[in-house]
Symmetry: C2
DNA sequence: CGCACCTTTGAATGAGATCAAAGATGGTGG
DNA sequence: CCACCATCTTTGATCTCATTCAAAGGTGCG
């Protein structure tokens, strides 16, 4: 399980900011925007597998963009159980809640070793003042994350266990495919069945049985932490999964 | 069950835009911002109880701010069941998903008669270009809604039925109190127990039993659609409820 | 005043949780 | 390089919370 670690030197990624790379999936950045984004981020910071990057109820100092590795965001309930809200990959923003709350409502944990590009909230405010289109784009990203959460809510609130697990698998495949983190038709999950349970509102025991059922029905194949997709259309349909990774950019204001 | 209907004439609310009123809860608007907001909205539009304002998978033309009345946003699953995501009150924005998707991922339905202030997406883009602080504020609102969804997700995914119902009641009390929609320590819910079930991931039968249990334990009191809160601290604790209606505005860029 | 819709209640059923223990797996240090 | 230990997966048995099914009260609107 190897992941890119820190690239030394003043700049972050190879020649540009992490956020710029993410944004450029949606729009063609103007030179001025590109330059402003290059000034946004601090030097990349690394965390080990299991490290807590942002802790619930604490006051994060910065926001981050994922450069490499997996993370998840979760909350801890009073009764000791955990709900995982979302998994974060390359290009995902963490700590956005800093734009609404001084104390973080969520814990963000590194699932693998990760490298993150940090940037302070105030500098971000400057960025979107100078470049409103980028602010609008970030708003679009926030809205789309809200929709993903809503999908997961419907999945957990209104579908049986098998569909919940299926839906998570579909989502991971869709997102990882888009990031080329997929190997043919298989992905590697650095997750325990307990993690999957915490994301789907199930116990690890029951997750095990559901996975097993999906294998028996020839929908997926597993060995170790590797999952091969055998019948994606069927799983997508059984799980009510809808891919929302496309972003509508037609309404955005012009660049500066 | 009476609600304000349309105010005829060129302007929307009494001397200003609905969105301006919402924003002014968080920041003091500059004259330029105020003026721009006044130009944002079209004439208010009314819908009857039960009307569908935005339909899933269709292409909404505009966004709206709630001027009066209740609505909820929901999705319909393939199996015919419904998940209610969120209830919308005075000042809430609907159709924000238009900023990320061309097709709406959610249905928005009027729970009571409502009056809404519509504004087109493109004009909104112009607004936040001229006034980046308002864009930043909208971003904050989107992020805070995401957090509320996350809270509900944890509630549904990881707490028993009684706590789920309790959490919803706490949320409604907190939000309605802030909007002065509360009468002493009681609120009026224009919801059926089926609606509550669709919001909490339960059946109406079980919602009934849970409400009944809360009454028996002296936590709430009911008659008809009226709910009186008798022991809010206890309910808040049992339901793991956290009020997130406060918004952090310290990071916002200066107004124009 | 009557009908449609909502609430309430009981009994039976079932999906998923809990409890317990036996295999796998893999990372670590000797 | 191997052995050991911790962690994770798998499986079975039992239990429980919530659903389902069914039917009897309420309530308010037209």
């Amino acid at each position: 399980m190897k992941h890119l670690l820190c690239v030394p030197g003043g700049e972050n990624a190879l020649g540009g900011s992490c956020l710029a790379e993410r944004f450029s999936h949606y729009v063609r950045l103007s030179p001025a925007e590109q330059a402003a984004l290059d000034r946004l981020e601090d030097r990349a910071r690394d965390f080990r597998r299991g490290a807590v990057v942002i802790r619930e109820n604490e006051r994060p100092r910065e926001m981050y963009v994922v450069r490499s590795g997996w993370l998840h965001s979760s909350t801890m309930l009073g009764n000791g159980s955990r709900q995982i809200m979302r998994f974060l990959f390359h290009g995902d923003v963490l700590g956005m809640s800093l734009l609404a709350f001084s104390d973080s409502p969520e814990t963000v944990t590194a699932v693998t070793d990760v490298s993150l590009c940090p940037f302070p909230r105030e500098r971000f405010a400057g960025l979107i003042t100078e470049h409103p289109r980028l602010g609008a784009l970030m708003l679009g990203i926030a809205v789309s994350e809200r929709a993903s959460l809503a999908d997961r809510l419907a999945s957990i609130g209104r579908t049986p266990a098998r569909a919940r697990v299926g839906s998570l698998i579909c989502e991971l495949f869709a997102r990882m495919r888009r990031l080329k983190m997929i190997d043919g038709d298989a992905i590697t999950l650095p997750l325990t069945q307990e993690d999957i349970g915490d994301a789907t509102g199930l116990t690890s025991v029951h997750v095990n049985r559901m996975l097993r059922g999906l294998v028996e029905d020839g929908i997926i194949e597993r060995n170790g932490s590797r999952i091969r997709m055998l019948d994606e259309p069927r799983l997508t349909e059984q799980a009510n999964f809808i891919d929302r990774s496309e972003l509508e950019t037609g309404w955005l204001p012009p660049p500066r």
